[in-house]
């Protein structure tokens, strides 16, 4: 009978920027099975949304993800605008796409950095995060915030990108291209990175279809899907760009797709800026007085893949139901295919290759007793549960080999 060693990664682990527990069941160095436990990040977003007005929901969904904070407002705006049946002005379309693509660049740079870090190649980490910083500065200039920009609203955007701000963005796009050349060259030609990522964590085309993976995770396995092209929104049908795909499905292919996508993003941003220069300033939001009853489905291509929002309106001030599907929800599940059979060292980069965002994946609710109005679990009870759980984990992990 073979005995397996349990190696836990998480729930709090230096490798992960968010809490999550992966249990690797190993036979020697080889991962034979993997389980995960989630729930450390529940915040009740879907349920909370039912108690907020449509304007407030934007601020709520913006806080689902701390990295790609505009992708959820993007999809939510698309969903609600579908219910209302309006088409926003061209100027606000271009502004939305500029924000969306700037975000893709900074999110992909963040991933490239982290991937380097997971491989023990900290130079890539330092470079990528250094190059990411000026993009965040651009956000601060345009929106006032480095992250959680509060740019979107039903019917348009909250702030304009004035002509005076355009040269700075344009200049940075030129600079980032050069930096990307350097970074892409360093990553794509490095024999150590090849050795660590090629043939590692392979997802086949069939795995992607079975798990309905999206975004760069799907595109790196040759599944050519991108909501920006397939179900066009904002300014994406108005500019020229191409969808990047690769065939190998391994970690290297995922890195390649993300690196090349950043060039496309820079090109989209420049074309949007050209258009913004020609359009008159102002006229960035339509006045929407009420949201009628109806059903809206909104999609947006976040850096990690398709974000899906399903909004049911009963004609009142807040959604009757708001279902959110973040890309990591389907992408993380693919670890069952990508990690099993790998060595432990390769399993970590395979897990990281989907660019997992745990707080996107979990959106739990606070529960109240309907008859008494009391919380079913109060703070002390939560602390008790947490301590009990810690003890249980300690006991069960001590019992393993």
């Amino acid at each position: 009978m073979s005995r397996k060693t349990l190696i836990p990664i998480g729930p709090y682990h230096p490798l992960q920027e968010e809490p999550e527990l992966f249990k690797l069941y190993c036979d020697g160095e080889i991962v034979r099975d993997i389980k995960w436990e989630t729930g450390y990040n529940h915040r009740g977003i879907e349920k909370l949304s039912e108690s907020k007005s449509y304007d407030q929901v934007f601020f709520l969904v913006e806080r689902i993800c701390g990295i790609c904070s505009t992708s959820h407002p993007f999809a939510f705006a698309n969903a609600v605008e579908e219910i209302v049946g309006v088409e926003i002005t061209d100027r606000s379309k271009y502004i939305r796409s500029v924000i969306g693509e700037l975000e893709r660049i900074h999110s992909h740079l963040l991933w490239v950095g982290l991937a380097g870090h997971f491989l023990g190649y900290n130079t890539v980490f330092m470079w990528a995060w250094k190059y990411r910083e000026p993009i965040l500065d651009l956000f601060e200039m345009i929106t006032g915030n480095r992250n959680s920009y509060a740019m979107f609203k039903v019917g348009g955007v909250r702030r304009d990108i004035e002509k005076s701000k355009i040269p700075a963005i344009r200049k940075e796009m030129g600079v980032i291209r050069k930096k990307l050349d350097l970074l892409t060259g360093a990553v794509m030609d490095d024999p150590v990175i090849h050795a660590r990522t090629k043939g590692v964590g392979i997802l086949t085309r069939q795995d992607v279809i079975d798990y309905a993976a999206v975004g760069p995770t799907a595109r790196a396995s040759g599944v050519d899907i991108d909501v920006r092209r397939d179900d066009p929104y904002a300014a994406y049908p108005l500019v020229n760009w191409k969808v990047i795909t690769a065939e190998a499905g391994d970690v290297f292919a995922k890195a390649e797709v993300r690196l090349l996508e950043m060039y496309e993003s820079a090109s989209i941003i420049e074309q949007c800026l050209d258009a913004l220069e020609k359009l008159e300033e102002g006229n960035i939001a339509l006045k929407i007085n009420e949201i009628p009853a109806g059903i809206g489905t909104g999609r947006a291509e976040a850096p990690r893949g398709e974000v899906f929002h399903f909004v049911v309106s009963d004609g009142s001030n807040s959604p009757a139901r708001h279902k959110i599907r973040a890309p990591s929800y389907t992408n993380i599940a693919t670890f069952k295919k990508s990690c099993i059979g790998q060595t432990i060292a390769d399993a970590t980069i395979s897990l990281a290759a989907v660019d997992p965002c745990y707080c996107c994946t979990e959106r739990m609710a606070a529960a109240y007793d309907n008859s008494s109005g009391e919380k079913i679990l109060n703070a002390n009870e939560l602390i008790e549960i947490s301590m009990k759980r810690t003890n249980e984990i300690r006991k069960s992990e001590a019992g393993h080999e």
Binding site: G39, E46, E82, A212, T297, F310, M364
Partner: protein
């Protein structure tokens, strides 16, 4: 293929199972079906027509428990949502997770939050709050007066 063509193909094949078709703005449609026909319709969409399962959205309404199964035909930008209405007292429906793994987690989540049973699910454990939540308490259920 446009949305109407997709709907016509579907209704041509499953006319007895479909209760209502609502064409929405854009390339979206909601198809209300008998809940016993979910497996055969999903199989047709997924295997024959190449639709991708996006996610399922459950709702607790006065009519009972409703689930929208959202499918996407990426080549044409179409979203078809199969809509089922389940029993008020003991909501249950066949699981899709034996056909594709993509529905595994969301069915577990709906089971946990709404108390809907997914028959023949390979592993209907709690997804979000394993061991941390009272049994038989479903936070997304509503009370109707």
């Amino acid at each position: 293929m446009d949305t109407e063509a997709a709907i016509n193909k579907l209704t041509g094949k499953f006319i007895d199972e479909i209760a209502e078709v609502t064409l929405q703005k854009g390339r979206r449609a909601i198809v209300t079906i008998r809940h016993t026909a979910l497996l055969s319709l999903s199989e047709y969409l997924f295997k024959s027509e190449g639709f991708r399962f996006i996610i399922a959205s459950a709702m607790h309404t006065r009519r009972g428990f409703e689930i929208y199964y959202h499918f996407s035909l990426d080549a044409d930008g179409i979203i078809l949502s199969l809509h089922v209405i389940l029993d008020r007292e003991k909501p249950h429906i066949e699981s899709l997770s034996n056909m594709f793994s993509a529905s595994n987690w969301i069915e577990r989540e709906m089971h946990e939050l709404f108390g809907i049973d997914f028959l023949h699910h390979p592993n209907q454990e709690k997804l979000l709050s394993e061991g941390n939540w009272a049994e038989g308490v479903y936070p997304y259920r509503k009370e109707f007066k």
